[in-house]
């Protein structure tokens, strides 16, 4: 084998002859090499079955370029044929080339041969070396390769199946997918899975079946990720050692023996799942290395120990408890904390609220919690952080509870209620838990009048909040105008400061003040008053239901001097209830009533109508009604409307804004179905005739200009007909009127208007409800037709103007002008017969969605009246029967 050998001369000879000889020699060697390329010798193979690497080495002489050919032995198919440059290993003198097979090396036998190349010149091929596959006839079994492979997501893997000797190949399945296969040899078949997805926890099964399916074999491949740890950080809990923690950004999908192994500063973490490792001494620099079969990842962290203090939780919390404060004491697990400057948070929880208080100190082990409430349960947790180079708050201690001690109660908030006969009540508000400072054991109430040397003390149970007083005797003996009531609350810790209220003995003599209206807003009743600059007194605002007259459940609020407004609120305010609200001075003198309001939280439609009665006085009819009881008004009454009704037509006669009013109707004439009525208004209760007002109300054809005051001719038939109809109407049953809650929304902010209505139908003794019944309306409306019916709202032309009476609520509803308004007469259902009454008895009321009405029957509808005239034998009873039959459903 030609080799270049240069012997160094100890004495360099610079003779040109020697130099030329050397150059010629070199040229000769080179020319020989080019002519005779060395055939690679001693080709050897070394295979790594797991990595599918094949290492080929040979003696290649001086050549640096070689042709490599790899064939599948059985089918003589070329797998690899390339010219490669390989340099000789100076130590072994051999050439070496590594090749990675796509298929597992067991799949089939491979033949490898090499030749040297120099440009276009090549040597002879070396002897063929065969890497034996597992498909040799001597190995008859059904086999699959590779086994137990672990690959990253997205990888491509080629599997091969070597069928049993003498059997036919069937299929290869990857999971549920049947793969395309290529033949590698007589018995070996390969399938390539591309872009592999994550496998299940137990890997993906690759199964090979023969054909027909008699046997099977398989392999499992695990597809996952290399490790990717994050958030690597080290800290100290005991001020000496390090605790390092980290997270994994993603699940590698590889577990147990394939799972990630971690090492911290080259020491292995014991557990795969545990993402925490301790080092006995703080080393300053930390390196985490995560390794799994698919790769490794490193993270580092560097810090001074005093920058990474994460305190442990305080332990053994104890308390020294008082009424208004408590000391919290705790211990530290490590002595080293005694010199550590700490900021500590104390979380204090009580009655569902949590507050945090912060304290500081070196080695802090106790704090005083001030501003606590007596007799209250508290729970406390403590956590601390290093004051200098704060890193993070430490762990919270366990929660510990304590209860503060009892303390004497606060003085109760005392007020009084006096009836008009020197009886009354001393009342006080129940003490809240935070005012009681312990369980209240009772109250001590003292009545005291120094002038008459009277003092009387009584004890009451803890659930007493009002005690009756009778000052009749004192009032008669005392010239003073006040008595002092003192209330003391008691608990286990002692007695409260006395709370006093001065009870005036001359309350009944106080002239009633002007009553203002208090208007409720969504926040309560806002009240305003004038402040007298000289006045240094405080105030009490009290309120109660106006309908209450005796021992009323009064609520109050006390205000400091100088206040000129307050908004009173109460959970007890109810819609439709009138409240009396009073402002009192609150000083060393007896309370003095300064201002008085009345108001509704929400005004509702009156819950009852007026009880209407008529008295015939010659040609006049006296209409009287009683005042609606206060509880039924449910709002401030604006007045009463008086209607005359002719069956389907209602005509407003007038209205009255006064509460105590009655009307005298004088029928001037009823001629040809026309009538003129006089409204005679008299103020109650005097029935003073000097206040009579006579108003002539013409109907329809009458000249409205002819209105005047004075007596008019009377239709003498009419009283008869009135009485007559009354008798008929009294036979009619009644429908009760239900208070309609939906009314309140429509009229809640407006004062209600009460209608006093004369109608073609009289019912008695109860209220009525209207029902919308358009079909029934057309049947029962008679001559009224589509435009008839009871429609007081339709009076867009306010008749009150005609009769000279102010109307508080003109009826201006535009939609009511169309046909088909209320026609209550035709929709009543007669389900309860009622005895006939007399003409003078109390009349019933009609209801409507927006007002209540009282009704007294006077005249029939025009058509009905005409029918009566056409049937001489008919009576009002007949007419009414006809009406009934026409309205029956």
């Amino acid at each position: 084998m030609p080799r270049l050998s240069v012997s160094p001369s100890s004495k360099p000879n610079c003779s040109p002859v020697w130099l030329i000889s050397v150059l010629l020699g070199l040229l000769a060697i080179h020319t020989n090499a080019k002519d005779v390329l060395t055939v690679p010798q001693q080709v050897s193979l070394s295979a790594n079955m797991y990595t599918q690497h094949l290492t080929i080495s040979w003696l290649g002489g001086a050549a640096t370029t070689f042709d490599l050919m790899i064939l599948r032995t059985e089918l003589n198919e070329t797998v690899f044929y390339e010219t490669v440059s390989v340099t000789m290993n100076q130590v072994s003198g051999r050439h070496q080339w590594n090749w990675t097979s796509v298929e597992p090396l067991q799949c089939t036998s491979l033949s490898i041969k090499i030749r040297s190349r120099d440009g276009q010149t090549t040597s002879e091929w070396s002897n063929t070396q065969i890497l034996q596959g597992s498909d040799l006839p001597s190995n008859e079994e059904l086999q699959m390769y590779p086994q137990d492979r672990i690959v990253p997501v997205g990888a491509n893997t080629t599997f091969c199946c070597i069928v049993e000797e003498g059997k036919l190949f069937g299929t290869i399945r990857y999971g549920n997918t049947v793969m395309n296969t290529t033949r590698l040899s007589r018995r070996s078949f390969a399938a390539t899975v591309v872009n592999q997805e994550l496998s299940g926890k137990t890997g993906t099964n690759v199964v090979c079946f023969d054909n027909p399916k008699t046997k099977l074999t398989g392999a499992v491949v695990f597809v996952g990720y290399p490790p990717l740890p994050t958030d690597f950080v080290c800290e100290t809990r005991d001020l000496t050692s390090a605790v390092c923690q980290w997270n994994e950004k993603r699940d590698t999908n590889l577990y147990r023996k394939r799972g990630t192994r971690y090492s911290l500063n080259k020491r292995f973490s014991p557990e795969e799942k545990q993402k925490e490792c301790s080092v006995a001494q703080w080393e300053g620099n930390f390196t985490l290395v995560a390794v799994n079969p698919l790769g490794q990842y490193s993270l580092t962290d560097s810090a001074e120990i005093n920058h990474r203090v994460h305190p442990v939780a305080p332990v053994n919390l104890t308390f020294v408890v008082h009424a208004w404060n408590a000391s919290v004491l705790w211990q530290w697990e490590y002595n080293s904390y005694s010199s550590l400057a700490l900021d500590c948070q104390v979380e204090l929880a009580s009655q569902g609220y949590k507050t945090k208080r912060t304290f500081s100190g070196v080695g802090l082990r106790s704090v005083v919690l001030s501003d606590l409430y007596p007799d209250e349960d508290y729970s406390v947790q403590v956590c601390c952080g290093a004051q200098q180079n704060f890193w993070k708050w430490g762990s919270w201690s366990k929660s510990f509870s304590f209860k503060t001690n009892n303390y004497v109660p606060d003085a109760p908030d005392v007020w009084m209620w006096m009836n008009k006969d020197y009886t009354g009540q001393v009342i006080w508000k129940p003490l809240t838990q935070r005012q009681s400072h312990g369980l209240i054991t009772g109250y001590e109430v003292t009545l005291w009048s120094p002038e008459v040397n009277f003092q009387h003390t009584e004890f009451f149970s803890p659930d007493t909040y009002a005690v009756p007083v009778n000052l009749t005797q004192i009032a008669t003996r005392s010239s003073d105008n006040k008595v002092m009531a003192t209330v003391i609350a008691k608990n286990a810790a002692g007695v409260s400061q006395p709370a006093s209220v001065l009870i005036p003995l001359r309350l009944t003599d106080v002239e009633p003040l002007t009553v203002s209206r208090a208007v409720y807003t969504d926040r309560g009743f806002p009240l305003f008053w004038q402040h007298n600059a000289n006045d240094t007194c405080a105030y009490v605002v009290e309120w109660y239901e106006a309908s209450c007259k005796w021992d009323c459940p009064v609520e109050w609020i006390k205000l400091a001097a100088g206040n000129t407004n307050v908004t009173i609120k109460s959970a007890n305010f109810q819609p439709g209830v009138r409240y009396n609200i009073s402002l009192y001075s609150n000083s060393s003198e007896a309370p003095e009533l300064l201002q008085h309001w009345q108001g509704y939280m929400q005004e509702l439609v009156p819950s009852s109508s007026v009880l209407l009665s008529t008295t015939q006085q010659d040609s006049d009819i006296l209409l009287t009604w009683r005042e609606i009881p206060l509880v039924n008004r449910r709002g401030f009454l604006l007045g009463y409307n008086i209607y005359i009704s002719g069956g389907s037509q209602l005509t407003l006669l007038g209205n009255c804004i006064h509460m105590h009013a009655c009307f005298i109707i004088t029928f001037i004439t009823i001629c040809c179905r026309k009538c003129i009525s006089l409204v005679h208004m008299v103020q109650k209760p005097e029935w003073d005739s000097s206040k009579e007002v006579l108003v002539v109300i013409p109907e329809e054809d009458e000249d409205e200009e002819g209105l005047g005051i004075g007596d008019e001719p009377v239709d003498t038939d009419e009283p008869t007909s009135l009485r007559y109809y009354n008798q008929v109407v009294d036979e009619r049953p009644i429908r009760p009127r239900f208070p309609d809650s939906s009314d309140s929304s429509a009229s809640s902010l407006d004062s209600a208007c009460t209608d006093v209505t004369y109608t073609g139908i009289q019912t008695s003794g109860s209220s009525l409800v209207f029902q919308l019944d358009p079909q029934g309306s057309s049947e029962g409306g008679g001559g009224g037709g589509g435009g008839g019916g009871y429609r007081p709202q339709m009076q867009s032309r306010a008749p009150s103007d005609d009769i000279g009476l102010a109307s508080p609520e003109p009826f201006l509803e535009p939609q009511a002008a169309s046909a088909g308004g209320y026609k209550p007469q035709s929709s009543w259902h007669f389900d309860s017969p009622v005895e006939a009454g007399e003409s003078g008895r109390l009349a019933p009321s009609l209801g409507s969605p927006t007002s209540v009405a009282s009704t007294q029957f006077l005249l029939p509808d025009e058509e009905e009246y005409a029918e009566e005239k056409r049937q001489p034998s008919s009576s009002a009873a007949t007419w009414f029967t006809n009406l009934l039959s026409s309205t029956k459903p």
Partner: protein
């Protein structure tokens, strides 16, 4: 609730034999694989959970147990002692195998189910041993140590798990018959 189990009281020695089958029966009385069996096969992945999948039975240590499928005439001819000894041997091997399955599983719920099942098998094995002792029969020697198992590839382990389950099913069926026969003989 639907797990079919077999309880046998042998008055002769006041021993209860309970077989917790790896089957459940539906409303029509048809038998289905129990949840634990379905769970395990699903855990192994397809095609192990497919109905007609049947890999070759490996000759591994975990499956070195008497065959439950004895020919009828041979089965009829078995003496009480041989019958009980075969049961004892089979269940001691199977119990160790199911414990190993439970240990190696990555799924906590499956591990719990398998360990629960082991408790039942342990009780059954204890009952059989107690019965043999009462009847004066010698207990068979303990099974080969499971620690000596050769390294198996992952697929082979799955096939073994599959066959442990199948053998267990076969043996539970056979034991029901065995114990009925024993009961008759002991009464006689």
């Amino acid at each position: 609730k639907n797990t079919v189990f077999y309880q046998l009281f042998i008055p002769h020695c006041s021993i209860h034999l309970s077989l917790y089958f790896l089957f459940t029966n539906d409303a029509e009385g048809r038998l289905h694989q129990s949840q634990v069996a379905v769970f395990l096969l699903t855990y192994l992945g397809p095609p192990f959970n497919e109905k007609d999948f049947s890999p070759p039975r490996p000759n591994s240590t975990a499956l070195s147990l008497p065959s439950a499928a004895t020919r009828l005439e041979l089965w009829h001819g078995l003496e009480n002692q041989a019958r009980l000894a075969q049961n004892q041997k089979a269940y001691s091997v199977l119990l160790a195998a199911v414990r190993e399955l439970a240990r190696s599983t990555l799924c906590p719920a499956l591990k719990t189910s398998l360990l629960h099942f082991c408790t039942g098998l342990d009780g059954l094995l204890g009952s059989i041993s107690a019965l043999m002792t009462t009847l004066g029969y010698a207990l068979p020697p303990p099974s080969a140590n499971m620690e000596m198992r050769p390294t198996m590839n992952d697929f082979a382990k799955k096939v073994e798990g599959f066959w442990i389950l199948r053998e267990l099913q076969s043996w539970l069926w056979r034991s029901a018959k065995d114990f009925n026969r024993l009961k008759k003989r002991l009464r006689g």
